[in-house]
Subunit: 293 residues, 2 copies
């Protein structure tokens, strides 16, 4: 399997699914629907939906069934980006190579477009009838938990709270694991859960995803130091503006890369415990370690 | 039955349930949990949870089962208030008699506290095991739909979009029915749905709730013109600051009151079609028409 063409194909399928799913711009109120679509289709690697699909495929080849949930994960990720970029938060003007949502629609409408996306993700999952109601309910619960006060929002809240303050390593780890890690874990978990994976396999996948999420964040931090603006689609060096405490700022670039490699190996060790074909997730781990954007 | 003591008792039960449910302020990150609780416990009549409970009670006396959903409705309502009050939106400094969330915690944290509340509402519903998974999934779907682009967010978006512009009656009705009406409809609907009401009764309750929601909005508009700041807990006359088009501004106070009375009667006619004891909802209609806060 060629991982690059796999990622390209799945991104295309997720994009097409999202395009069919999201409210149309010829329906009232058109501008709300346009603002919802704007950041969804402003690029993005679709890491979370692809992790969900790849995890699903370990146990069930009919991956199209999981597209509503894979898409919901991307929708939740996008809502969080729109709110993070607001002037009151990280005040970012560029995201995925384009002006941020509030730069195009203004603050009030950007806040609302993101609110609509978050709510729509839950609507989409609750509308699905591709799986047993019991499994859908469990997936919704886990995805909500990873998105809220004990997940994305908790991480972003502490991140905001710490700006300009002295931060210790446990607090940095809290921000990383919550702001980014929880949704990545849930993406892997919910794919396998809906495919009917047994508890032992779900447990190994959660551990896999924990180390994958940490790697993902470290690579993000490295790219923020040395990455290319064109390729990243955002302004690198941003973290330094706020004196944020990052892996490269503590350990330097070389040691940080080494840590990312170690974490990737740890993640793959958990995949090896699963008695099924986990080669796609294995390749995704390699790809996320070596990415340049 | 004395409706005032019923409302008081149920408000107390909902408040106690919310207090147990929401994350504690002695857990990290404490300030996020504090900000989530702040607006929840800054007052409020608990209209939506009480409508959900009263509707449930028509078909099932064991109303404590529905408290997770009743509470989720109040949590969603509160998230929407926090975002509506933001400087970028309605820029309100006073809500339920207290400084608004962003006045206390700042804009970034207020946005995040509300995001955490919205997500937590879905987490709470998906965690419940008080009903068949099928019914829980259906309730989550309906509540999400009423809260998002085709409900609260849609209404608020058009409201923001219309400020300072000429507005026509259909657009005003759109704002009313979406910003306020949809969640009121869903509150009544989900209570009865979870209690196992049959389709015909659900249909009559939706029609009841539609007219109730319109009455609720007209009375809100009247109180905004002639209400008492102390009793309302917010600044009356606010709507005039933006030249908003309201019932009193079109029809005057006297005619608006007459319309509210007519709508209340229409709502009660649908209750009369249900072959069960709907006296509580009937009394709530009277109360919401005659309220002074």
């Amino acid at each position: 399997m060629n991982i690059k063409s796999y990622l390209k194909d799945k991104k295309k399928e997720v994009d097409e699914y999202l395009d069919n799913l999201l409210p149309k711009t010829n329906k009232f109120p058109a501008q709300l629907h346009e603002a919802m679509r704007y950041t969804i289709f402003a690029g993005g690697k679709r890491v979370r939906p692809i992790l969900c699909i790849a995890s699903f495929q370990i146990f069930d080849s009919n991956y199209k069934k999981v597209l509503p949930f894979a898409s919901a994960l991307e929708i939740i990720h996008t809502y969080s980006l729109i709110h993070d970029d607001l002037p009151a938060m990280d005040n970012d003007s560029l995201r995925r190579g384009k002006p941020t949502n509030h730069k195009v629609y203004g603050e009030a409408k950007a806040i609302l477009a993101a609110d609509a996306l978050l709510t729509f993700a839950f609507q989409t999952m609750a509308e699905s009838s591709n799986f047993e109601d019991r499994l859908i309910k469990k997936a919704i619960f886990n995805i909500a938990k990873s998105s809220g006060y004990s997940g994305i929002v908790g991480g972003q809240f502490v991140d905001i709270d710490m700006e300009g303050k002295d931060i210790d390593l446990p607090t940095l780890e809290y921000i990383h694991t919550h702001k980014t890690g929880e949704l990545i874990k849930t993406s892997v978990y919910s794919g396998a859960l809906l495919a009917g994976a047994k508890d032992e396999d779900l447990d190994n996948l959660l551990k896999y995803a924990k180390w994958l999420g940490l790697t993902f964040q470290i690579v993000d931090d490295i790219l923020d130091e040395i990455g290319d603006k064109e390729e990243l689609g955002k302004n690198p060096g941003k973290d330094n503006h706020y004196n944020k405490f990052t892996y490269p700022s503590i350990y330097g670039i070389k040691k940080s890369k080494k840590i990312a490699e170690e974490y990737t190996q740890k993640s793959k060790n958990y995949l090896a415990k699963i008695n099924a074909d986990t080669s796609i997730l294995n390749e995704i781990s390699n790809f996320l370690l070596e990415r340049t954007y």
